[in-house]
């Protein structure tokens, strides 16, 4: 029996491969030490080391395979989970405004869509989906226009709505503007909660301030901001959203004349 056979035999009952290789290396090193120190030839040295079959029995009893495989399986599961986590993060980093919608359980909610959905589609007389292309970076935040919809809505015939309309000055069909912003922050859990103001107008006329309702939701690095502006003049060519005031004021310019290609 040569050394390879001896080592193979002695480790043959260790079924978990990494363990088997480690024990084999250990025994081989031992054999080499013995050969070197004793001056015996290989046969004698192997005889000295013992009966490989008996060693195999003992070692096999000690190195139960299922524990090793269980350990390896749990490592793989952990690795898989880590890879998935990284992939999700990478996806989010690459397309911050959009991808989170694909992740169930994430609390960010698209308020704008909800606002728009409260209106009976039959009341929407005309709709312009604008092409969102504006991005603004300020103070660690990246603010991008996710969606802007300009639509003409008829007066509601429901009693509640009718009463509400009477109280507000609006009468008859009106143009409403819906804006959704994606805001990503370089810091975790820091929602952008600046003072906002909104103005709009035409190129040949001065800007006008408008009131709006704002809804915001945020999760971690991401924030979604929905604005609803009611009763905007139809010929409005642009609106500008101002964040902050004084020297810190930043303006997001949104053109209402560039419609998205559908």
């Amino acid at each position: 029996m040569n050394r390879l056979d001896w080592l193979d035999t002695a480790t043959k009952k260790i079924y978990f491969r990494p363990d088997r290789k480690a024990v084999r290396r250990e025994l081989e090193a031992h054999l080499e030490d013995l050969l070197e120190a004793s001056g015996l030839d290989e046969d004698a040295a192997l005889k000295e080391m013992g009966d490989p079959e008996a060693i195999a029995e003992e070692l096999g009893r000690l190195h139960r395979p299922w524990l090793g495989y269980l350990w390896r399986a749990s490592q793989l599961a952990l690795l898989g989970a880590a890879v998935m986590y990284c992939l999700v993060l990478a996806m989010l980093a690459a397309r911050p405004g959009y991808s989170y919608r694909a992740i169930p359980g994430m609390r960010l909610y698209h308020y704008l869509q909800a606002d728009m959905d409260t209106i009976d589609p039959a009341r929407v007389l005309e709709e312009r989906v604008l092409s969102p292309s504006t991005v603004l970076e300020t103070g660690g935040y990246t603010i991008s226009l996710d969606q802007a919809v300009f639509r003409r809505v008829s007066e509601s015939d429901s009693l509640d709505q009718a009463v509400f309309r009477r109280v507000s000055e609006s009468d008859g069909p009106q143009w409403n503007l819906y804006i959704a912003l994606d805001i990503t922050s370089s810091r975790w859990e820091e929602p952008l909660d600046y003072w906002f103001s909104l103005s709009g107008g035409r190129t040949d006329a001065g800007p006008m301030e408008y009131g709006f309702t704002r809804n915001t939701s945020h999760w971690g690095f991401w924030q979604k901001c929905g604005f609803e502006i009611e009763g905007l003049p139809e010929d409005t060519e642009w609106v500008e959203l101002d964040f902050g005031y004084g020297k810190l004021k930043r303006t997001l310019h949104i053109s209402l004349t560039e419609e998205a290609e559908t």
Partner: protein, 106 residues
């Protein structure tokens, strides 16, 4: 040394490892030297004992590669190993005192 005495063998191995970490070949050499050739342990006895001790966490092992490219596993005794060794030493001393007393009375 009789082969079917794993408890005593593991006690001897733990005692040897008490002072310093050693690899398998060293343990056999050291046992031979310190017992003045009374205990000549075979590899077939030693390695199952070492791996059993490791499994029970009485020793830990680390691998190191020598300049000759040999992978040696160095074994060191753990806290738990030291406690077990202490118990076994006590047991042995009781046993050995009893045997001595009986032999002296014979």
């Amino acid at each position: 040394m009789a082969k079917k005495e794993p408890a005593s063998v593991s006690m001897l191995v733990l005692a040897l490892l008490k002072g310093r970490e050693m690899y398998g070949y060293q343990i056999i050499e050291e046992l031979d030297r310190r017992s003045e050739h009374v205990f000549q342990m075979k590899e077939g006895t030693l390695y199952p004992v070492l791996h059993g001790l490791e499994k029970d966490r009485l020793v830990t092992a680390r691998e190191a590669v020598t300049d000759k490219g040999r992978t040696r596993r160095y074994y060191a005794v753990t806290e738990k190993g030291l406690r077990v060794l202490e118990e076994k030493e006590k047991e042995w001393q009781t046993f050995s005192r009893a045997v001595t007393a009986i032999l002296a009375g014979a």
